[in-house]
């Protein structure tokens, strides 16, 4: 620890405003690239001659890649004849998917956290089980999802199949990051506890878990977005009629008739993930109030 005196209060933080402005700028640039590409396609009549060979640019035409304004308009148009406007459908389905994602997220976080605590206290279990935890993530979720749905309906808890599939994606980062946080305790911090003859439990509660909190939040932010992906994928084989996953499935089936609907739905899914991420990030700022030397 150096002897230099430090500021009594942290310097005023302008980074939040700068981040917001940068984000807006990037969105504008992406929109310009999108529309620029479309304009370029239209100008070349969707064909580009390069060194004698012709490149097909028809993916840039309006039936393949809609104008941004058409995507925006799609939100306000009914997705079915005489149905409610799309945004209303998306909010309803989004809410359904979000609740499944949230349950999956919580379930995964709890399982991941408990696994990490077990692994942190037993080298034997860590060596024995961690390879399986890692291997579990190499199995494509689409291969597992139908199985989970079948099993869950057999035990009469089909409403838990989507959360379970989401949890399958979310527990892993929580286990890995929490384990790292629990075990990367400075040697002297641990020795301090030993001089007090503190129990394993006290060391866990007063040292290991607080020490792991920054890493736990890193994991939770990853898991928040992963849980949305897990819930959407989980809905596909579930046979449920609600949810963004089903909406994506339907709109991609009728993509050629109306591409903007699918893009609008993709946009809605993305927004949900960002929102969930943001909530966890906000929670992190409320909980982790000390300055973290090196965050991952």
């Amino acid at each position: 620890m150096a002897t230099e005196s430090r500021a009594e209060t942290p310097a005023a933080d302008h980074s939040g405003l700068r981040t917001t402005l940068t984000t807006i700028l990037i969105v504008i640039v992406l929109m310009l690239v999108w529309e620029g590409a479309k304009a370029f396609g239209a100008a070349t009549n969707y064909q580009l001659n390069v060194g004698g060979s012709t490149i097909d640019l028809s993916i840039l035409n309006d039936t393949q890649l809609p104008h941004l304004i058409d995507i925006a308009k799609a939100f306000d148009e009914p997705s079915q004849r005489n149905g409610p406007p799309l945004y209303q459908t998306l909010i309803e389905n989004g809410l359904y998917t979000f609740l499944a994602a949230l349950r999956g997220f919580l379930l995964g976080a709890v399982i991941g956290f408990i696994l990490a605590i077990i692994f942190a206290h037993s080298g034997l279990l860590q060596r024995g089980l961690l390879p399986f935890v890692v291997a579990s993530q190499t199995i494509p979720i689409l291969a597992i999802a139908p199985m989970v749905v079948i099993w869950m309906s057999k035990v009469g808890a089909v409403e838990w199949s989507v959360p379970l599939i989401a949890a399958y994606l979310t527990f892993f980062p929580v286990t890995i990051y929490t384990l790292r946080g629990l075990t990367s305790v400075p040697q002297t911090s641990l020795e301090l506890m030993q001089t007090y003859a503190a129990s394993r439990w006290e060391i866990l509660i007063k040292l290991r878990i607080p020490n792991a909190l920054p890493q736990i939040f890193t994991a939770l932010k990853i898991s928040a977005t992963a849980s949305v992906v897990g819930a959407i994928i989980g809905e596909l084989p579930s046979g449920i009629q609600d949810g963004l996953g089903i909406a994506i499935l339907n709109f991609s089936r009728f993509y050629n008739q109306s591409p903007p609907r699918l893009f609008a739905t993709i946009l809605a899914s993305g927004l949900m993930g960002i929102l969930f991420f943001g909530v966890i990030a906000l929670l992190e700022r409320l909980v982790v109030r000390w300055r973290v030397e090196e965050s991952s």
């Binding site: 620890m1 150096a2 002897t3 230099e4 005196s5 430090r6 500021a7 009594e8 209060t9 400075p186 002297t188 911090s189 020795e191 301090l192 506890m193 030993q194 001089t195 007090y196 003859a197 503190a198 006290e202 007063k206 040292l207 607080p210 020490n211 909190l213 982790v288 109030r289 000390w290 300055r291 973290v292 030397e293």
Partner: protein, 259 residues
Amino acid sequence: MSKTFRTSDGSTVNALQDINLDVQPGEFVSLIGPSGCGKSTLLRIIADLIPSSSGSVTVNDKSASQARKDQDYGFVFQSPTLYDWRTVIKNVQLPLEIMKYPKAKRDERAREMLKLVDLGDFENKYPWQLSGGMQQRVSIARALAFEPKILLMDEPFGALDEMTRERMNNELLHIWSAIPDMTVIFVTHSISEAVYLSTRVAVLKPRPGRIAEIINIDLPQPRSPAARDLDQFFHLSNRVRHTLRAGVGSTAELGAAIE
């Protein structure tokens, strides 16, 4: 008592050999020696943070491990070792929480200790908001909060500048005199610090770590900064210095010493 380490290539190193040190209640004993003489190792063995290879450590008629379990030790590390997520006062309360002090008592003791180290106005700051010297004072307040019978200090002021260090020395003496019968074992590599603070100075020599000589520091008590100007202070410092020099031998040997 002795300590042998096994190195990564399988050979063994005698870190400490034939250590025999008898410390009385209320004493202030400094362990001084060059890097690699095993003074920090000795302190850690006394604290029961690492085991000795042979021999025994007896503290107030019990084993070191029993003394640790009975929460007799306050330990101050070279680095402040504060918990980043706890405010200053919460850091001081950490041992009190583990020792199951009631809440009101915890608050009272922690405030008292912070006042003692002159940090009463900083109780709600986080460690990173304090300077290195202030952080170390918090760690001393934390070590004293539960009135340990024995205060073990491992070069606590090693990272501080000379002026801060002298001020901290005075504060430490003040604290020590305020708590009756508290024993302090203090590791340092500063001769003047050892002589100024201690009732006895144990000079260690390296490879293997042994006690070269135990020197009685019969400067008047209570000590004040004026003691540093006494002829006696000068003579005692020289005596420690000569013992250190005799123990080290050639400088090549000092360079090869391992911490």
